[in-house]
């Protein structure tokens, strides 16, 4: 068996072990935060692929997350019964994209099927990422950072300023998402264990996809871009195309995370699109070691879980700011590396030598 498989088995073992521990200690409620963590992790591994392997920073991934989440939320809550006569409603209904469900007041809501909404969300995100990615990825360094940040802010502003999307209140009462009969993504506490496995199953599937990608022709091409883009270009590697593909892929990961978490939470608010969220994701990738999918995954698991549990209190943002600085100053290749200790030693040695000069 190859080490790649061993890691995946170890990871799945951990996921199962955590569930068994919570069961044994009668503390299944931890699975709520762990499920939310899983969806954020899905975004983080996609972002890790983009930053670590394609070498392109994005400070706008919360934007893609929200595009996914908001489209799913809007389509599954917006009542179409007022437009019943319209041609598009009839067409959608015929295609089986609509469904009727009772609302809070006892009336009937005619909304889009969660499956259709999810696919629409992913498709729209992919198109947006493709359109934005084209010009954005031509930029480098500060310009790239600022352009992606700008994209994120625009999405935040639109979400916050649009009445149809609930403006500052966001969208509530988003229904569950039945993937298959009997299997539903929702925050209902009776479905907690199932949702835990759905979420981490998705993350595992995402990891398999990305790991295979890294060890393929695409991965080697990306590595060459990260190393020396101009040289890669000269070798005839279509760098722009590979970068764009990775960008779109990571955006779709983010959107999928947004769709799932929105159904799980039963709603979404503008805070999901905020710049601070994007910065957090980058911080997690950075501390995981930039080009280290497993590192990013475990750091996301730990930090998101602690943050969602409220362990950082009023210092939540400060903790992430502090992590960013410390990691970038002392361990720009991340924490989860064995040569870390020797690095620290070298650093201090270098400092004293430098001080004498």
């Amino acid at each position: 068996m190859r080490p790649k498989h061993l890691q995946m088995i170890g990871f799945l073992g951990l996921v199962v072990a955590i569930q068994l521990v919570t069961r044994a200690t009668d503390s299944a409620y931890h699975l709520t935060q762990l499920t939310m963590t899983a969806y954020y992790s899905l975004l983080v591994i996609g972002l890790c692929m983009l930053i670590g392997y394609a070498g392109q920073i994005s400070l706008g991934h919360a934007g893609f997350f929200s595009i996914g989440g908001y489209i799913a939320a809007y389509l599954t809550t917006h009542d179409l019964s007022a437009h019943k006569g319209a041609a598009f409603v009839a067409l959608f209904a015929k295609a089986g994209l609509l469904r009727t469900r009772p609302d809070l007041y006892g009336g009937d809501l005619l909304t889009v099927q969660p499956w259709a909404a999810c696919l629409a969300a992913l498709a729209v995100t992919a198109v947006v990422a493709y359109l934005v990615g084209g010009p954005v990825l031509k930029l480098r360094g500060h310009y790239l950072a600022m352009a992606t940040l700008g994209f994120g802010i625009i999405i935040y502003r639109i979400v916050l300023g649009t009445t149809a999307l609930g403006a500052a209140d966001g969208i509530s009462d988003v229904p569950g998402f039945s993937l298959l009969p009997g299997i539903e993504v929702s925050g209902n506490s009776s479905l907690r264990v199932m949702n835990y496995y759905i979420a981490w199953g998705l993350v595992a599937a995402g990891m398999v996809l990305l790991l295979n990608l890294i060890h393929s022709r695409v991965g080697r091409a990306l590595a060459s871009i990260h190393g020396a883009e101009d040289a890669a270009d000269a070798m005839g590697i279509p760098t722009a195309r590979y970068k764009l593909k990775t960008f779109v892929l990571s955006a779709v990961f983010a959107a999928l995370a947004g769709v799932m978490l929105t159904h799980y939470n039963g709603g979404i608010g503008p805070s999901e699109a905020s710049v601070m969220k994007s910065v957090r994701y980058v911080a997690i990738v950075a501390i995981g070691g930039m080009a280290n999918l497993w590192g990013a995954l475990f750091m996301s698991l730990g930090l998101n879980y602690l943050s969602l549990r409220g362990y950082f209190g009023t210092y939540d943002d400060a903790v992430f700011g502090g992590i960013l600085i410390v990691i970038m100053l002392f361990a720009p290749d991340g924490l989860l590396r064995k040569q870390l200790l020797s690095d620290v030693r070298r650093l201090f040695a270098g400092r004293t030598a430098g001080g004498g000069a």
Binding site: G141, A147, I153, I154, A318, G354
Partner: protein, 296 residues
């Protein structure tokens, strides 16, 4: 739209524009010395304003502002020495992330020091109601103070960079760092100096606009984004152009609300930023050669 209204929008635009330009100049000074975009620039503005308001409780206004500027300069120097000076040729990505981290830390520290409340210095002359009438247009005297002090600041900066030794050394460093070092200039000290200068400019800006805009622990981020837009619009590193670009963005924003809901005002300015980045990254006043995108 009648003519008075037109000029009223222009005045509003120039007020925003001046504030943005001050932040942009701070960006440019550090960029010229180091090739770094300091994402914490907006926090210098906030720190300056907050400190000045706090000191004004015990000091007269001009002294409070002076002291706030000096304190913020010290913070700027400290940040450079602690976080940037000893890094050996850091990558751009690393610097972007570090300065973002610094901005978050300053913001959160301010929240815990000063709380969430808004603060403001008093109007330098008159009060919040006073306005000077120019034809059909009303202008607050504080706007004149802001524009006047900013203009003096730009002139003094020009003098500093053209005629004084440290100013010329800084320019030498930004033109060619290795050559400057060979001539015996201590490039590292020049970088520290650039942080001190831009912290001071930010703090002064933050103090003089605080009667108009107020200051709060999180007001830096907003300003940093606008300032950066203006810096790019004018061409990174070009401070004179930043003033022009600031005015253009300010006026555009001010007129945008005449046609679009005000809630989307920020979308406009950022969309302009993206457009400029995509089409003409050297800025509207810059030459394409100067952008040297591949280097940074």
């Amino acid at each position: 739209m009648n003519i008075d209204l037109f000029f009223q929008y222009i005045v509003a635009g120039l007020t925003y524009g001046t504030i943005y330009a001050v932040v942009a100049i701070g960006f440019n000074i550090i960029y010229n010395a180091t090739g770094i975009i300091n994402f914490a620039q907006g926090e210098f503005v906030m720190l300056g304003g907050m400190t000045a308001v706090t000191l004004h409780q015990i000091l007269p206004l001009p002294l409070a502002i002076l002291a706030a500027v000096i304190i913020t300069m010290a913070v700027g120097a400290l940040i450079e020495i602690l976080f940037i000076r000893w890094l050996d040729r850091p990558s751009v990505l690393r610097m972007v992330i570090i300065t973002i981290g610094i901005s978050i830390l300053i913001r959160e520290a301010s929240l815990h020091i000063w709380g969430e409340g808004v603060r403001a210095l008093p109007y330098f002359t008159g009060s919040s109601e006073t306005s000077i009438r120019l034809g059909g247009v009303f202008v607050s005297p504080q706007v004149l103070w802001v524009v006047g002090i900013s203009a003096v600041m730009v002139i003094l900066l020009n003098v500093f960079f053209t005629y004084t030794l440290p100013g010329r050394q800084m320019r030498a460093c930004s033109a060619n760092r290795d050559a400057a070092r060979l001539c015996g200039i201590n490039a590292k000290n020049m970088v520290t100096l650039s942080f001190v200068l831009s912290a001071g400019i930010g703090a002064l800006g933050g103090s003089i606009v605080s009667p108009i805009t107020y200051v709060q622990y999180d007001s830096g981020t907003q300003l940093a984004i606008k300032g950066f837009t203006v810096a790019i619009l004018g061409g990174l590193g070009n401070s004179a152009a930043a003033v022009g670009a600031g005015m253009i963005l300010g006026v555009l924003e001010s007129f945008s609300i005449a046609v679009l809901p005000a809630a989307y005002k920020d979308v406009i300015s950022i969309a302009i930023l993206l457009l400029i980045l995509f089409v003409r990254p050297s800025g509207i006043f810059g030459s394409s050669e100067a952008a040297r995108l591949s280097e940074f």
